[in-house]
């Protein structure tokens, strides 16, 4: 496993590779969205415009499968942002990697800041020759990014529940009986945790398996063949997993929001 470049600013640790990849993902998503909407035309839509229309319709269907379209149309841009950002982010780590080696702790500096993860690694294993820093990975392979996304959904759904659906929002904590209150509270935090950790775990485990497959090359010619075959299969599967996870994250966002803004009385049978 490669080390990630972590620097410390004001006592808080920042993972530079995650920040770099967040910027790269945002730029790619922005450019795709900008290019797709540049020459809008009804008679003669371009390929990218067709693709974007398909994506928007996909998210529209996804929202209307969970809630009333009248209530749900406000969340179209949110869902579109989530699905594009997560999908692009999931795929970014697959095609290649950028790894730099650091041979001694004195050179482990970036922007005049010490890379603490490297110095720690040298302090732990003094005999190690080189620490490898991975700069290119999926931003969603970092728990803080995915938990941040999950927190957005958590705050948004609870805020909407409190403001738009106040009575049944507070009532649902005591459903079906008042002593279910602790379980209902735990459920909310379990939703938050699983939504973030599901995305993180899937992408992170995928990246770890890729690095394990790359290590097979140390076994010689047979290792190279096995590594190449495994990588072909696993990278193909990772595209599928990345798409499914982006889809699941977006639909769960809509499900959680709809649970909060729709009063429960009309749904209980």
């Amino acid at each position: 496993m490669h080390t990630s470049p972590i620097i410390e600013l004001g006592g808080i640790k920042f993972d530079l590779s995650t920040i770099l990849m967040l910027i790269v993902t945002s730029v790619i998503v922005f450019v795709i969205a900008k290019l797709a909407t540049r020459k809008l035309s009804v008679e003669n839509p371009g390929k990218l415009q067709n693709f974007m229309e398909w994506t928007v319709e996909f998210v529209q269907n996804l929202i209307s499968s969970t809630m009333d379209w009248k209530k749900g149309k406000h969340f179209l841009s949110l869902g579109l942002t989530f699905i594009m950002f997560i999908f692009v982010g999931n795929l970014l780590g697959l095609p290649f990697g950028i790894v730099t080696g650091v041979h001694d702790p004195e050179h482990a500096h970036v922007f005049g800041k010490e890379i603490v993860s490297v110095t720690e690694e040298f302090a732990k294993h003094p005999d190690v020759e080189e620490v490898e820093l991975a700069w290119w990975k999926s931003p969603t392979a970092d728990a803080s990014v995915t938990m941040g996304l999950a927190f957005i959904v958590f705050f948004l759904s609870h805020f909407l529940g409190m403001t738009r659906n106040t009575k049944s929002y507070f009532k649902h904590y005591f459903q079906p009986y008042w002593f279910f209150f602790p379980i209902n509270v735990i459920e909310q935090f379990a939703k938050l945790l699983t939504q973030g950790m599901r995305l993180f775990g899937n992408i992170f485990a995928g990246e770890v398996l890729i690095s394990v497959l790359l290590k097979l090359t140390a076994l010689g010619v047979g290792g190279y063949i096995a590594s190449a075959l495994g990588l072909i299969v696993w990278q193909g599967f990772s595209i599928f997993v990345g798409a499914i996870q982006a889809f699941v994250f977006t639909i769960l966002t809509m499900v959680y929001i709809s649970q909060m803004i729709e009063s429960h009385d009309e749904h209980e049978h």
Partner: protein, 74 residues
């Protein structure tokens, strides 16, 4: 923690995968049954199936992440 950490990682991954495998199998088999009975409901069933599979996948994946933590802590 030594060798126990490896054992803990193996148990976390193995049992998590076992449970999720059974769960996913049930989901997919019921979906296939549903599609066979009502082929016109295919798209709805598939969407629901993927949501279900995504929900089930969360737990073994969390198990895998825990296993990595044990592995790194060994």
């Amino acid at each position: 923690m030594g060798v126990w950490a490896f054992l803990a990682a193996a148990i976390a991954v193995g049992l998590g995968a076992l449970g999720a495998g059974i769960g996913n199998g049930l989901i997919v088999s019921k979906t296939v049954e549903g599609i066979a009975r009502q082929p016109e409901a295919k798209s709805t069933l598939q969407t629901t199936m993927f949501i279900g599979v995504g929900l089930v996948e969360a737990l073994p994946i969390i198990g895998v992440v825990l296993a990595f933590l044990f592995y790194a802590g060994a």
